[in-house]
Assembly symmetry: C2
């Protein structure tokens, strides 16, 4: 390692990070996913733009892939992509998958099978010139099928958050379906990778890889999960050392998982993903620590990785409009139809189902990683790589607006006021825990609930156990559907000292809405939750609520900010956005 | 990059991180600095142990320095060491240096000059066989002088925190002296590096390097500092995006600073250090963001870097007892004598001065980085490298115990109760900001302070502006020395909603002690602050204090935990410990 190598490495890393973050922020400002800007940064610094304008400077900075600075950069991006998949895995909530079992199963199965079919068909119909090895067309077609069936959990989570429906039934179903989808997609891809790299298909080797992969997943999720959970509980006991220990533990488990999957011939990123699921599922992972990992990965690792993708290909000369259009159309049509039919079967109405279909259509970063791995493995040509990247970006960009348009409705600004007048107002909660707060608020609704009170209480507590309803920014919205309830019921409680609802920002909740819904009123639920979010978005409103003495005062405060059109800022929003 | 390269890289990284963290925690448990364990991990995995036991496995994992996995690891450790210096730079508080001007100046100048003299002498006395280039003995002697004069800011900060005197006058003086010390030491080393690598001394080139280096430091600290501060204020306005933007900004500035200093022929780490100072000095750097950078760097970057040091040398065959003893004795004697004389001149009593001398003697991680750079530059032999590492570890290990022993005293458990009875108790502060809280508490002492009230208020507000007194964990201790005060005065205020004292943990302070001290009563101040820390260490005590209605109730609560012998957990403690 010479002085020049160190300099070229540091400077290339600095340039990639700077331009990726800058263009990422620009993309964000234009309403596009961050990854659009980050990837563009690499296209600008890579052979596509800088290589044409100033080939000498480009070569000095990034060298050939065999140069020492390029290898040092490889070290950094390898760690980056493993950690990126860890972060994606952490978003997977196995509890949600279990709870939403039936409808999530239909939605995800049809959301996988349709694109898989479409992709395989596409793989068989493409002319030989699009293939690297026309003689291995079957494997190629299966790969295209798998590639089109994958979803982008982080992009989907971000879209749901932006719409303020992350914690509604529709939101949880879309998330659950996308999780099943991703797990199966990555598993299939990882298994495909080995025979695709070898010259010919060795069914014995494939079977062995499948067996080891399934054993690894099972070991992590069945044996590793409870062990990790217990270790974490032990670590979290010491508040002083916990953050650093948790960080180290997560990263080193990810590195070992990645090494293991790399060693058995499937890709390192899959190990990172499974470790992420294992980690994210632990009850004892504090939101603060999760957020720290997330912030670091998404601010200094992910941008460099996505920008470095642009260095791998000349996006101008490899752009094939026919291929891009074809891939985009097949992918979108198959995914939207599959997702829509699946959720319709799962019990949603048509318009809601269609919005779920579009939600699942976002491919985002995960598709791009998959495409890169396939190109590096010599499985697809650079033209198809570019087409998959374009498809991933395009589907991510328009999934949010489509969902929003389909779920639009006349939102009733008066809804919360009316609900509270009919419901209850507890100006000074004495509860110290989330369960106590829920019980105290349910007790305030004793009159309205009658004999349904015990059942309602249990339903809300169970819902809370599945996934916390702490929205961050001092607000929590415990809620549940109650069999037999005719119209929505709400109680609002204010706690001076705050109650811990395990919010992403670690702050206790001071403003707590208990919301009880009649079964299956998804649209109404979305509307009410979005209304709550709007009403308490301003810190000033929440401060005033803490001081309000009468219901009328509280109602004036809640109605004071009717124009703010987005949910309260949640750190999760920025985290999910890779 | 082959599949094997990726695997070897991931696995070597995983092994280094795992063993470094594990041995680091063991060291911590044994009361030793983390770096002792982290470095041992590398010795175990490097040529010293694993290379002897299982040379094939060792070579497969870590290869030669020219292998692709080794280069990928180089990329990671290069980023690690730059970020490590950023974190060290962030600890430097220019305000403290300015405020403690005179005594810090004496202490640091003598704390530099004595070891510099001792080191130069040592450099001239060592036999030719210890030198790489005996014909360049002058440069070598100057290097040894600089190497012995450096301090380890993070280790010193950690020691002061462990003793509970970080925010006392002695603590701030030691920190200020160490900061001046480090800045000058690194500057000198960076300037020395260039001619030492060239075959002979070119005074024109040295002069040019010095000029550019000073220009760079001036540009960062005079021009860059206010610009960065303004940019940061802008970024912090948006709470949602701030953490990720701040992280990216700090890292990319560090990478550019490192590239720049690397390009002008001084080492990359110096650029990281200066950028760290610039960043840490900003009023608008939120403690939460500082803590996130710190946690990440110290949990996944620093351990790998220190462990990787062990791969560079065979510590068994290069261990030279004569050299180790000599370096250790000269370094310790010169530093302790220099630091002690300096602080005596600065106005401290002999025993306090001696404790400051031992505090400054800790060399820690910074010395080790310097030694590695010198060895890589071909300036010192591996035997001297090992001797410097041993000296750095030994001085770090015994600096804390010596300070503690010298500052021991009969701590008066009754002090706080007596102070509060003489002082004031404000059971429900109405203040919403730190300044308001200080004013409210000062007003409560109107009777005791008389005409000195205005002066006292101003002194405390000025002290608070220098460095926040928020200890974290809901406690703040605004304090100052007041000219003409005969004995300590204290007011205790409790705030239900909390007041933001810019604590490291981001939580508002609910329990606020205003402490006014007669001038120069350092030992008494240390005793009272440590007593406060012990009294409110338990979360339960603080919760009860929030509910206490009378002074007597409060006193019972404050006296309830007299045995806990450490200050409240502060995240800063774990951060400073590199």
């Amino acid at each position: 390692m010479t002085e020049h190598d160190t300099l070229a490495f540091l400077l290339s890393l600095a340039m990639l990070l700077t331009s990726a973050r800058f263009l990422g922020e620009l993309a964000r400002r234009a309403g596009l996913p961050l990854v659009v800007g980050e990837l563009s940064a690499g296209i600008v610094l890579g052979p596509t733009v800088l290589g044409r304008i100033a080939p000498v400077a480009q070569a000095w900075l990034f060298g050939t892939s065999a140069s020492t600075p390029a290898k040092m950069l490889d070290g950094y991006t390898t760690v980056a992509v493993v950690l990126l998949l860890v972060v994606a895995g952490v978003e997977v909530n196995l509890g949600i998958v279990r709870k939403r079992g039936k409808s999530a199963f239909y939605t995800s199965i049809l959301g996988i099978l349709m694109p898989l079919g479409g992709g395989v068909l596409l793989g068989f119909l493409l002319p030989d010139s699009d293939l690297v090895h026309p003689e291995r067309r079957v494997l190629f077609a299966i790969f295209i099928g798998v590639a089109l069936s994958i979803s982008a959990l982080p992009v989907i989570a971000k879209t749901l958050l932006d719409l303020g429906i992350f914690k509604t039934d529709i939101g949880l179903l879309v998330m659950a379906a996308a999780m099943i989808n991703d797990l199966l997609g990555w598993l299939a891809f990882s298994v495909l990778l080995a025979p695709m790299q070898g010259g010919r298909t060795d069914f014995g080797a494939v079977a062995r890889t499948v067996a080891i992969t399934i054993a690894f997943v099972a070991a992590c999720l069945i044996v590793g999960r409870p062990v990790f959970d217990r270790v974490l509980r032990q670590i979290e006991k010491n508040h002083e050392t916990a953050p650093r220990r948790v960080l180290s533990l997560v990263v080193l488990l990810a590195l070992f998982g990645a090494s293991l999957t790399q060693a058995i011939g499937i890709h390192a990123v899959f190990g990172g993903f499974i470790v992420g699921i294992m980690v994210g599922d632990s009850q004892h992972l504090k939101e603060h620590n999760r957020a720290t990992v997330h912030e670091f990965v998404t601010s200094i690792f992910a941008p460099v990785f996505f920008a470095s993708l642009g260095l791998h290909a000349d996006f101008a000369s490899a752009f094939d409009l026919r291929l891009c259009t074809l891939v985009f159309l097949v992918a979108t049509a198959a995914k939207v139809v599959g997702g829509t039919l699946g959720s319709r079967l799962g019990g949603f109405r048509w318009r809601q189902s269609l919005s779920i279909g579009f939600g699942l259509n976002a491919r985002g970063a995960m598709e791009i990683i998959l495409a890169l791995l396939a190109m590096e493995a010599g499985l697809i040509k650079v033209q198809l790589f570019v087409a998959l990247v374009v498809m991933a970006l395009a589907t991510s960009i328009f999934s949010g607006p489509m969902m929003k348009w389909l779920l639009r409705g006349d939102e009733d600004e008066e809804a919360i006021a009316a609900l509270l007048r009919r419901g209850a107002w507890v100006p000074d909660l004495r509860a110290q825990t989330a369960s106590e707060a829920i019980e105290e608020l349910a007790n305030a609704l004793t009159e309205q609930l009658g004999e349904k009170k015990a059942m309602a209480l249990q339903a809300v507590l169970e819902r809370e156990a599945t996934a916390s309803t702490g929205l961050g920014d001092q607000v929590a919205v415990p809620h549940a559907s109650i069999e037999g309830l005719q119209k929505p019921l709400m109680a609002l409680g204010v706690s001076r000292l705050g109650v811990d609802f395990n919010s992403v920002d670690g702050r206790p909740a001071n403003v707590i809405f208990l919301l009880l819904m009649p079964p299956r009123q998804y649209e109404e639920e979305v509307r009410i939750l979005a209304g709550i979010a709007r009403a308490v978005i301003a810190e000033a409103s929440r401060e005033k609520l803490l001081r309000a003495a009468t219901l009328e005062e509280a109602l004036v405060i809640l109605g004071a900010e009717p124009s703010a059109a987005r949910p309260p800022r949640s750190r999760r929003a920025s985290l999910a956005d890779i």
